[in-house]
Every structure is written in C-alpha cells, then in structure tokens.
C-alpha cells in the first residue's frame, strides 16, 4: 500500500459509538477533520463532546462494532494515546504539581528519549511559542502561576512534541472573560502559524464561532449539525442548533398553500410566507427559526407589503447597551424577541413602551425552516 495520501483527513470518525453502561455517550458519530483545520466540538454539558475528544485521544475506545477512529487515514482504535501522535490540553491543565515549568514542558521530551542536550532548546522554543519567558518562568512551580500562565504551560507542554494534531478540552473555561478573548485569538493564530490540526471542545458558542473553521454542534450524543460558523449560525437545521447558537425565535404554523415562490403558513388567524424547503409538507406543521436581529417592529397597519407580520403587544423593553431587546406577546400566545440597535436611548429612544400594540415583522427569506428533530 502506498503511504496515506495527502488528502486523507487528519482525524476521521466513522460511525463511532461509545457506551458507558446503558448510556450512549457518543452515538454513531461520523466526521472528518481536515489537516490544519481548527475544528470545534460544541454542545451543552453531557452532549458527548468530551467523550468524542477522548475517543480521538485514545483515553476511550469505541464499543465493539462501534466504528472506527482514524488519524491520518490510519485506524487507531487499538492504539494507546502515546502511539497516536496527538497532543492534548486538559480542562484543568493537569500540570504536574511536583515539577517546575521547565520540567513539565520537558516531560514529553524525556519520555520520548530526546537526547538530553537537545531538551533545553526545545523547551525554550515551546515556551517562546506560547509567550512564556523561559528564564522567568522555567523554574517556577505550577502553584506559583496564574490561571493564564498555567494555560500557557499546558500548551507548551503539548506543543513541545510537535504533534500533528492538538486536542483541547475546554482549555479556556477557567479564565476570566478578558483573558479568554485574548487566548482565543492567540490559539487561532497558533493554529494558523504552526499548521497543526486543532480539535477543540467547548460549550461556549461564541468561542466556537470566533475560533473555528468548522463546528460540529453536538446534542444528545449525536452531531446535530456540522458546518462553518456562518452556516451553523445563519442556517441552523434544527431547533436545538437555532437556540443553542445565539438566540432564535421559534415560530410554528401549518403549511396551507403552495405558491410560486414558497408556502403560505397559517398560525391561528394569521398567515405568513415561507420560502420553498424540502422539509415542508402540505398540511403539516412548519417550524421556523428567526434571529431577533433579523426581525423588525411596526405599528399595526404600517407593515411593508414584502414583510411577514404577527400582531401582539409589547411585553417589555430590555436595555443591553449595544442592543435593545423588545419582547412582544403575540395574539393567541407565544413571545418573540426582537433586537434593535441602540442608537442612543437618551437622544433617540426606541418608540416602544409596554402594552403598545405592535406587529413583529420579518422578510420571508430571513427565516430558517427547521427539520424535525
């Protein structure tokens, strides 16, 4: 056999299933991570994202007949973590508390029997990569470091072995917001400059959107949707994805009439237009997701003809700084959230007060038709 072609994915899961007792933590998950890609596994706790990462690392093995884990085109189901050529950064950093920073970073080199004289240079290079001054930090113990510094040591310790694939399990979870945002950009930059494939587990949707080339949104042990940040945000396929990534209004009605450019959907006494979509069946329920920022508010009777509108009353106006959220209770039940840009409430306040009659409107093409879950 020839050597694995350059085109084979860096990491590939083929129908991978992992059970713990009666619970399926990962259920027939298939995905392929391209070389050099920043790939995120995103989902709420318990969705199976960490188990998926641990299956790639080799800390867990798939069930018998539970599919294949491949790295660079090679099936690695039976390989131990140290034979997989992956690096890992743990959620709690897992720095060795009895070793100083230098020896933590050198640990992998020593285990791989790198000649002694080479070790200091490689440790220094790895520490430089994560912007830790070797002379200042090398002799410190992990307990003497801040959270952000520990994070960098954990990264250096994984990178020093020059793995082709770096697995990261919520590495920024314990950092404060400002540092987290800084590290997000730094990780992204490392991914680009080193050309290492990153597989990144997070429950923070914003983090995943900022850093990833592609995101696998996981829910209940399965991949709910896989795509670029724009795809999963702008074209969520299920109600779960629509509400987990950003905020969405869910509107459902019944498909009553097929027209030239789509469907007419009925919701109580109101009707609205929905673009053509394979999931829509005449007479059946149609579920829509609409982003609050893609909706608009009008006084009754002032809705432009090209927009859909649902009448209701203003329930509350919420000031968030950058945006203003207006909650509207629809006639016949249901509450929608509309986000409008804050143009200065002191000079130019939004013209909505509680209990004002209002019509929530959106353009037919600005909604996503959801597939039943």
């Amino acid at each position: 056999m020839s050597k694995p072609a350059r085109t084979s994915p860096a990491v590939e899961l083929v129908g991978v299933t992992k059970s713990f007792g009666d619970t399926r933590a990962v259920d027939a998950v298939s995905l392929a991570v391209e070389p050099g890609e920043f790939f995120s596994l995103l989902g709420p706790s318990g969705c199976g994202k960490t188990t998926t990462l641990r299956l790639i690392a080799g800390f867990e093995t798939p069930d018998p007949d539970g599919g294949e884990v491949r790295i660079d085109g090679r099936v690695v189901n039976a390989l131990r973590p140290y034979d997989r050529g992956v690096g890992m950064v743990f959620q709690s950093y897992a720095l060795f508390p009895h070793l100083n920073v230098f020896r933590n970073v050198a640990f992998g080199l020593e285990q791989h029997r790198v000649p002694k004289p080479e070790i200091p240079e490689r440790v220094h290079r790895a520490m430089d990569l994560v912007r830790l001054e070797p002379d200042r930090f090398g002799s410190r113990m992990p307990a003497q470091l801040s959270g952000g510094q520990r994070q960098r040591v954990a990264l250096a310790r994984a990178l020093v072995l020059e793995p082709r694939i770096l697995l990261l399990d919520e590495p920024l979870g314990a950092l404060d917001l400002k540092l987290r945002k800084e590290m997000q950009l730094e990780l992204k930059a490392l991914n680009r400059s080193l050309g290492i494939t990153f597989v990144y587990v997070t429950h923070d949707q914003e983090e995943a959107l900022v850093m990833s080339d592609r995101i696998a949104v996981m829910s209940e042990a399965k991949v709910a949707q896989l795509g670029s940040p724009a795809e999963v945000y702008e074209d969520p396929r299920t109600a779960f994805v629509a509400t987990f990534i950003g905020e969405s209004n869910l509107v459902s009605g019944r498909a009553v009439e097929s027209t030239a450019d789509g469907w007419v959907v009925e919701r109580g006494p109101n009707r609205y237009r929905v673009p053509r979509h394979p999931a829509i069946v005449a007479g059946a329920t149609v579920d829509l997701a609409i982003r609050p920022e893609w909706m608009d508010l009008f006084r009754p009777g002032e809705v432009p003809a090209e927009e859909n509108g649902l009448p209701g009353v203003v329930h509350d106006v919420i000031y968030l700084g950058e945006t203003i959220h207006i909650l509207a209770d629809l006639d016949g039940g249901g509450r929608l959230k509309v986000a409008v840009r804050n143009e200065g409430q002191l000079a130019k306040p939004v013209p909505w007060r509680r209990a004002d009659p209002v019509v929530v409107a959106w353009l037919p093409e600005d909604c996503q038709v959801l597939e039943p879950e």
Partner: protein, 292 residues
C-alpha cells in the same frame, strides 16, 4: 471583675479569645506531656533508690551503663526490626492503598476492613497471633493435616513471629495515609503523562510515586515510631530471646525497679525517633516553600 464581665472582655478581643481557646490544650500538654518528659530526663541523671524510686544524686551513670554491647545490641535490633517492619508495611501496604484508591464501588467497604482491626485491642490481636503460630496452632495443624510437613514448624518465639506481629499491628497505619494521598491524585495527571508518552510503569514512577510521597513518609513514620517503642509483640511472640528496647524499659520500671536506667533508655529511644522526624519536617518545609 465578675466572671461574666471577664468572659465579655475576653470575647471582645480577638487575641484574648484566641489565647483563651488555646489555653486548655496548652495546659494539658504542659501537665501531661512536657512535665513527664522533664521528669524522665531528670530521673535519667539520678541514682536508683535502695528500695526503688530515685535518689537525688546527679550522675551520668545510667547513660554509661547504656553503652554496653548488650543494650546497644538490643537497641540496634530494635531499630533494624522497626525498619524491617516499616519496609514490609510499605511493600504490602502501598499496593493495597493503590487498589482501594482506584476501587470505585468497594472503596468504603475496603477502607472499613482496613480499620476493622483497630476495633480489637492490640494485646488481644497479638494473643490471636499465638493461636495462629504455635506448634498446635492453626497454621501448623493445617500443614500437618495436609501432609505438607510431618513435624510442626517452629514459628512462634522467632524473629519472624515478632516481625509478623509488628507488621500485622501497624499495617493499617501505613495504608491509610498512602490511600489519602493517592485518592487525591487527579486522574487527568495520569492521562496527561500518558499522552506525553509515559507508559504504565513510567506513569507510576514519574507521577504517582512522587505525588504520593507525603503519604509514604507519613505512613512510614506512623509505623516506624510505634514499632520502635513496642514491647507487646516481642514479649508475646518473641519470647525471652527476642527482646526489644521496649521490653527492657518495661522491665526496668516493673520488675527491676530501676527507674533512672529505664528513663535513660526511654530518653535515648526518643532521640532515635526524634532525629528522623525533625529531618523530615525540615525537608518538607523547604519543599513546601518551593511548591507554594
């Protein structure tokens, strides 16, 4: 000042309140720990009274008597046996502690079993060993019945029996502190070591063992110190020929009625214990300064 007013004043000042809380313990230690040691030290430089007791004559005679091959031999034997007991407890206890720390479901039950012997008096447990080891005891009866030996093995009143008794008596004191340090060990440290290339034994050598060292040292002290001073196992299981320092000391106070010499022996024994402990504490302090 009324008692109530005094209490109010003490409670109002954090320093006074602290002193008041510490005072009972300090007084207790002074009366029942420091004072007896001082008395012991005092007796050890006095002379034996004609009818027991002490005579207030200052002398170094007791310590001179102590520098006798007989006593030094016993002291050396005591140290060697205590070291052997500690080593045996470590070798036997570490894997047990490791297994308990790894056990998920049975952990509580196993810990309970480790502590269980403490529910019985040490003396009774040593007597039980006699029933196990003597010529007509359980082991010999079984060996004879199975035809493995045709004459009972001499097990009782041997150094082996004493060591067995010591290990049996102090093993839980080794297991518990090691278990505590292993139980706190974060699994992700082992995983980190594994993904960095450390195979099974390397993970143990470079991560598990160093991180459980505080438990190993604590367990070793907890077994070494009481076995140095013990006299019951050597008395019951060793017979007359396997005396340890504890037996000699006990003898000086109860039979020979030579309190000064008993005190001198006790004091030397205490120094033997104190020196390694102090060395360890100093080392640990410097270590802790490093890790903080």
């Amino acid at each position: 000042m009324s008692a109530r007013a005094l209490i109010r004043r003490i409670a109002a000042s954090p320093r006074a309140a602290g002193s008041a809380l510490v005072a009972p313990g300090v007084l207790w230690l002074l009366a029942f720990f420091v004072a007896p040691i001082a008395i012991m030290l005092g007796y050890s430089v006095m002379q034996r009274g004609v009818y027991g007791g002490v005579e207030a004559v200052l002398t170094a005679e007791q310590y001179r008597r102590l520098v006798d091959p007989l006593y030094l031999g016993i002291l050396a034997r005591t140290v060697v046996w205590s070291l052997a007991c500690t080593a045996a407890c470590l070798v036997l206890g570490y894997p047990v502690a490791f297994a308990i720390a790894r056990a998920r479901r049975w952990r509580r039950m196993l810990l309970f079993l480790v502590v269980l012997p403490f529910w019985t008096s040490f003396l009774v447990r040593m007597f039980a060993m006699i029933f196990l080891l003597r010529d007509t005891g359980l082991i010999n009866s079984a060996l004879l019945a199975l035809g493995i030996v045709d004459q009972p093995l001499t097990l009782l009143y041997t150094p082996f029996a004493v060591l067995l008794g010591l290990v049996y008596g102090f093993l839980p004191l080794m297991i518990l502190p090691i278990y505590t340090s292993l139980e706190r060990l974060d699994d992700s440290l082992l995983e980190a070591a594994e993904v960095l290339g450390a195979r099974g034994f390397e993970r143990f050598r470079r991560v598990v063992l160093p991180l459980s060292m505080p438990g190993v040292v604590a367990g070793s002290l907890l077994t070494f110190i009481p076995s140095l001073g013990s006299f019951v196992p050597s008395d019951l299981l060793g017979g007359a020929k396997q005396a340890m320092v504890g037996n000699i000391i006990q003898n000086q106070f109860t039979v020979a009625r030579d309190w000064p010499f008993g005190s001198a022996l006790s004091f030397v024994l205490m120094l033997v214990v104190l020196v390694p402990v102090l060395l360890y504490l100093r080392r640990r302090d410097t270590l802790e300064v490093k890790t903080r």
